[in-house]
């Protein structure tokens, strides 16, 4: 795949093995600012593993991860985050003892601690809460919230770090239709602000609506890349999702 010179995130031939299992097999992808890049694939295809490798939670066995022009393969998750990388988790990783406001505040405070950006964290947090539409429940403890809203809190936490690259791991699962529609709008907005978004999602409508490019992952390999329309027509993709046609 041709490397995009604009890319804020480039993954080159990343391979991850768990014992004898190859979870990711020479996976490459780019994320460019202003675009939502979709990553779809059946359960167990390696989507979350790829996110773990990108964020540094799981060191890859081979391959490179670049943020902008910088090779970050050897550095830890904390420093990658400070280079503008943020993610949400499929299996929610919220700070369950804290309220919605406090969850986002933790992230804002972390950024304020290391960066030169000394924006008032209270204001930052309030504007994010407003943006993700959780003003009504801002003081509720997050473990009292339904999953859909929890996913928004994770997104809000990411936004508080002012990311350039945003990895979203099934952000719409647990949301109802209204919530998903609002969420799609927010995603497009974020991309327009110049964030490079990578979206892992099972909700095909959402993916097809907001993504400019879609990668399909199956058994650890990228089996197709293209625009949403191209992907919908792709034989290999149909086979991966629906099984091979009986002959």
């Amino acid at each position: 795949m041709s490397a995009d010179t604009n890319a804020l995130l480039s993954v080159h031939d990343v391979t991850v093995r768990f014992g004898g299992n190859v979870a990711l097999d020479e996976v490459s992808l780019d994320a460019v600012p202003g675009c939502v890049t979709g990553l779809i694939g059946p359960n167990g295809a390696g989507k979350t593993t790829l996110f773990n490798a990108i964020t540094g939670l799981l060191p890859p066995d081979a391959g490179r991860v670049l943020l902008g022009k910088r090779d970050v393969t050897k550095i830890g998750p904390t420093r990658r985050a400070r280079l503008g990388l943020a993610r949400t988790f499929q299996r929610l990783e919220l700070f369950s003892l804290l309220s919605v406001r406090e969850n986002i505040r933790v992230a804002a405070d972390i950024r304020r601690g290391w960066s030169r950006d000394k924006a008032n964290p209270t204001e930052v947090v309030e504007s994010i809460i407003d943006r993700i539409g959780l003003s009504d429940v801002a003081d509720a403890r997050v473990d009292a919230l339904p999953t859909g809203q929890c996913r928004l809190v994770e997104l809000g936490r990411c936004l508080a770090t002012r990311p350039q690259v945003l990895l979203l791991d099934e952000p719409a699962s647990g949301q109802n239709e209204t919530e998903t529609a609002a969420f799609a709008e927010l995603l497009v907005e974020l991309a327009h602000e110049g964030i490079a978004v990578v979206l892992v999602e099972h909700d095909v409508h959402l993916v097809m609506n907001v993504c400019q490019t879609v990668h399909v992952l199956d058994f650890g390999r990228i089996i197709a890349t293209g625009t949403p329309e191209e992907i919908q027509q792709n034989e290999a993709v149909l086979t991966a999702y629906l099984g091979s046609v009986a002959t």
Binding site: G56, L57, F95, W114, P146, R157, N176
Partner: protein, 723 residues
Amino acid sequence: MDKFLTFTIVGLTLAAIYAIIASGLVLTYTTTGIFNFAHGAAGMLAAFTYWQLRYDWGWSAPIALFVVLLVLAPLFGVLLETVIMRGLQGTTETVKLVVSISLLLFMIGLAQLIWRPGVSRPMPSFFEGRTPIDLGPTTITWHQAITIAVAIAVAIGLRIFLTRARIGIAMRAAVDDRSLTMLNGARPNRVSMLAWALGTSLAALGGILIAPGPGLEAASLSLLIVSAYAAAVFGRLRSLPMTFVGAIVVGLAEGYLAGYLPQNQYLTGFRIASPAIILFIVLLVLPNPRLRGRMTRSREFFPMPTITGGLGFALTLVVAAVMLATTLSDADLITYGRVFPIGIVALSLVPLAGFAGQISLCQLSFAGIGAIVMAHLGAGGDPLALVWAVLIAAAVGAVVALPALRLSGIYLALGTAAFAVILDRWVFNLPRFEVFGLFEVNLFAGGSVAVDPIRAFGTEFDDPASQMIIAAVAFALVALLVVWIRRGRLGRRLLAMKDSEAACATLGLNLLRTKLTVFALSAGIAGLGGALYATQLTSVQPGNFELVQSLQVFALTVVGGIGAVGGALFAAVSLYAFLPLLTTLWPATVRWVGLLPGATGIGLGRNPNGAVHEIRQGFLPLLAARAVLTVMCVAVTGAYVLRLLDFIDNWTFVVLLIACPVIATIAAGLAKPRAVEVAAGHGAELHDVPVEWRGIDRPWTEADAEELDRRLGLSEVELRGVG
């Protein structure tokens, strides 16, 4: 060469015992996920029981062995599993740890209750007196030969059992996935019962074999088995073959240390502490674990403390301390005054273990460092020594944290416990020594050191009353500090880190720095507690700062509620006010009180919010009824004045002190029935319970059903369609 062989045999014998004990530990850990801190204590109890049957009652060895190893020990294991351990499935690691630590304390207390300490109980080794077997260049005693043979038999037996026997295979399956095993028709409960029976028998076997060496002493025998823990950690608490390898490494290391370590006053303690040192090193060379996300869903609820609440708590405490200081006798003040410095040590656990979830079992060791600093730098009563005590303890805390940072959960607990043993067995017992001829280090001067009372503002605070008030004020200030931390940036950050290190790291948090900060902070607080404790004791020795005390403080703080300052006070009051009071009121209980801290931990350690939470709920109506509260304060003041004027005696005063809040709470309940409802969890508080726990944590209501529908996004049509 002969010497080398001799000590190889010594080492292999130790290795054999450690292997036996450690394999029992691994069995129970793998099948139930509970690291049994009391495993060594089970071996200790077995050794005592064997001594009782064999030497006190004169039973023959085979019968005594049969009864202990094949009847009592398995029964005890089954009892532990069914009564205590089974209830711990799905609880947090802290809770599991507290229960097993409490069990350890309880068993030590039990042994001391049945077999009064200080009485000589000679326990000969097997076939003592028989001529050792000649191996050419060296000899091997019958006890050593039997021990090694038994370990080999255990290894072979376990191997066959786990690979051939049906239930053995089920046991290995249960390790991999408990619920899956159940689905496949095995009965995990039976499997874990068997594992505990077998594990306890192995502990018993090890205990009986090891006891002739060090002799029968409850606490040291229970903790001596730390070496076996090191062996188990070699196998990451899971692999039996690696555990045997670990046992050989640890045993041989100890054997050669015994043979070749030069005999001098500096290294005597080193030999005693060597198992802990080995454990510490083994923990450090373990491969780095991956950053973890959320493990078990915690059901803790640590409400955000309010500033007013914190100030009220601090003020009440200081006023209570002043009342006690002006009414109690000096002897009583010396006894009960310890509540506050130990309370400060317990407070040090709140940010560390409560907020950040970092378990530390060496807080009393940090306190010991504070005490040493106070003794040396505070000579003449310089109050600045308190500051030095905090700073130096904090620095040591940071140094300990550095290697300990790679550890979490049970490994961190073991690491800090090992550190505590290294300090109290070796470092604290070092005589005066010089470092490269540059400066002299003097800790406890090889015995005990005197501590001068603090001198400030031209006064010497050398009486128990003023020392108690100073300690109470310090406790109140530290409590406010902890409340302030909880409400601020650091507190949020620590709670966040406890929940998900992975999330924190991907948000850009420097985990290392955060953990160092909280370790240093906590050690500093413990150092302050130790320094104040030292001024109260006037003379301190290593025995004041041992691991067992750290364990007690940790267990009881968790029982009280490790997430709140009240939990720390609860621990200190239980240990240093309630227990002495009990023995004063009923002297007959004096031998039984040793069981209480352990029993409390076993019984109450499961409530993740702690007893203090319940107590606070009980007082909510009173806090809501301002008028009643005012009347109560006036009544307490009145009683205090009556006591000062000697109209009433101490006991009447104490009874009045207790009666006032009780009566006031009842009165407040009558005056404000609504507040009682709120306290009982009805009314507005209902919505604080997460939706999935409604009907479990509190009764299910119509409103819940409606809310659930709404949250699931079910429309009216869908609902009717379903109905």
